[in-house]
């Protein structure tokens, strides 16, 4: 009997919880466990399907976090399970030095579905890693060093991604960080114009700031950035790790404005919810740098045979089911419901915003975010605030969410806001 049989056959929720918490405390992250318990977010995931996840005790939740965009195709998508199982009958990861056919097929598909002249793909297994690739390509291609990035941006926590992440708490303990990054306010074209120098290699941004509080960039801003980049031979890099693969109502967020970046970074939903894979997609001109430095950016796990096949299956599912269109429609339904709540609780809901199923609801003060997360949890919805701004609760469910499930979430927000209002009244007394 393999250890796997032991694991899969253990069904006693009490035993599982006790053992998990003990091991977590002793071997993983005891303080995080504590904080989750405080927030009642100490869910141990059992069954997962579509828009929902069940705690092992049987309590069901609509998952509105989905790892900030990993599960666009739904939790435990059975079509992709089948695809990966079939792949496992034949493949393993494949040798890193070998030319992997499946990787090439995925790269070709990405070339087809990404806008404009985005054509080559370099694969990694994490979003931050792919951001590092983009930054390296920008420096290598332009022979310049400076990266202009956004305040409150979030791009990852490894060495070249971390300085671009616009929040000090992630960075301070690990100084000194890689130099050559300049932060400017988001959505402010003047700030970028003033920040450009002869040494600027690239401008890096998320077309909708995720952890920064679900802030979409204006179309005009993006067009302005494209112009600045063209005029100054600077590369425009879009971090579409959260916004990609239908999340915003189109396959890629860039399609809304029509602005095509020079490098686009993808991760999360490229995994189909099952297999770590990420990539930087870039133009033919930039690929010349790889031509002269073919083995300068390498990794063992990026774009494996299995990963590529899962990604292809995920993209197929998204296209077959026209998930971008569905996300657009469900997004509108959400906005309608949330705007009604804004009218009902004008003291508590300052703003409702977003695109497709990347939505945020803003509160007047920071403590409400965490308190709402707790309430939502009691009402069957998993949701958390955006890391760089606790005033905003993010709503990013799977793109296969149904109308009934949308309504359920809106109702959960209603109940939660009611409770928060009651708390506020009690505080004032």
């Amino acid at each position: 009997m393999s250890i796997i049989d032991d694991i899969l056959n253990e069904t006693d929720p009490v035993k599982i919880r006790e053992e998990t918490e003990r091991n977590y405390r002793e071997h993983v992250n005891p303080f995080a466990l504590r904080m989750f318990k405080n927030a009642s977010l100490d869910i141990i995931e059992g069954k997962r399907s579509g828009a929902s996840v069940w705690d092992i005790s049987g309590k069901r939740y609509i998952d509105c976090v989905t790892g900030a965009g990993i599960f666009n195709v739904g939790r435990h998508n059975t079509q992709i399970v089948e695809a990966l199982k079939k792949a496992l009958d034949r493949y393993d990861m494949g040798g890193w030095i070998s030319i992997i056919r499946e990787r090439a097929l995925l790269a070709k598909k990405l070339s087809d579905i990404t806008p404009g002249g985005l054509k080559y793909s370099l694969f990694c297994c994490g979003g931050g890693e792919a951001i590092e690739v983009a930054i390296k390509l920008a420096r290598g291609h332009t022979d310049r060093t400076e990266i202009i990035c956004m305040e409150n941006g979030y791009h990852g926590v490894t060495g070249f991604a971390l300085p671009a992440t616009g929040r000090d708490v992630y960075k301070a303990p690990f100084a000194p960080l890689a130099p050559g990054y300049r932060h400017v306010p988001f959505n402010d074209i003047r700030a970028v114009e003033e920040a450009i120098t002869e040494d600027t290699a690239a401008i890096l941004l998320e077309p909708i700031q995720g952890e920064g509080g679900i802030r979409p960039a204006d179309d005009e801003y993006l067009r302005g950035l494209r112009k600045i980049c063209d005029e100054n031979d600077v590369l425009l890099v879009f971090d579409e790790v959260q916004t990609g693969f239908g999340r915003t109502g189109k396959m890629f967020c860039a399609e809304h404005s029509g602005v095509v970046p020079d490098i686009m970074v993808l991760a999360k939903s490229l995994s189909g919810g099952f297999y770590p894979i990420s990539c930087a997609v870039f133009t033919e001109e930039i690929s010349d740098f790889l031509m002269t430095h073919p083995f300068i950016i390498i990794n063992s796990f990026g774009g494996t045979s299995l990963g590529a096949l899962v990604a292809l299956a995920a993209i197929e599912f998204i296209e077959e089911n026209d998930l971008p269109a569905h996300a657009h429609i469900m997004g509108k339904r959400f906005i309608k419901g949330l705007l009604a709540l804004k009218e009902k609780y004008p003291d508590l809901v300052i703003d409702v915003r977003g695109m497709g199923l990347m939505l945020g609801i803003e509160f007047p003060e920071e403590s409400i975010g965490p308190r709402m997360a707790y309430q939502l949890n009691q009402n069957g919805v998993i949701s958390i605030y955006t890391f760089n701004n606790p005033k905003i609760i993010r709503i990013m469910p799977t793109l296969v969410i149904t109308e009934d499930e949308v309504d359920f979430v809106v109702q959960a927000f209603d109940k939660s806001l009611k409770e928060i209002r009651a708390q506020e009244v009690r505080f004032k007394k």
Binding site: D143, D288, M291, T292, H293, P294
Partner: protein
């Protein structure tokens, strides 16, 4: 056997092909090297100087300190500069002797790939 005049002629043509290729020049802008070529059976040496991707000088003799040394028979040297053979393949099959870093050797192959993609 290829005479040293024939090899210089081939080198001149190679220089022109490389220097006139805008894409290659841009790709090679980080490459400044001295290359020595030696005809095994003639003992003739040739020196190519590359500065930021531009071949600035081809001359007879082994001048300066080389980053890369290529040694093979004179005919093959000639073929190389005319683009009739894939030098990296020959190197790996032991038919051309090359001393230099593997990055530089791969870079020479990249040059071949741009100028003569079918080789």
């Amino acid at each position: 056997m290829a005479t040293s005049e024939e090899i210089m002629e081939a080198l001149a043509d190679f220089q022109q092909q490389c220097n006139n290729n805008k894409r290659l020049r841009r790709m090679q802008r980080d490459w400044t090297k001295v290359l020595h070529f030696k005809g095994t059976e003639t003992g003739d040496y040739f020196t190519m100087t590359v500065e930021k991707g531009e071949i600035t000088r081809n001359e007879k003799g082994d001048n300066g300190v080389p980053d890369i040394i290529v040694e093979t028979d004179s005919e093959t040297l000639c073929d190389m500069f005319w683009g009739d053979i894939n030098p990296t393949q020959k190197y790996l099959r032991g038919e051309i002797k090359v001393k230099g870093s593997q990055e530089d050797i791969m870079r020479i192959d990249a040059i071949t790939a741009i100028i003569w993609p079918e080789v």
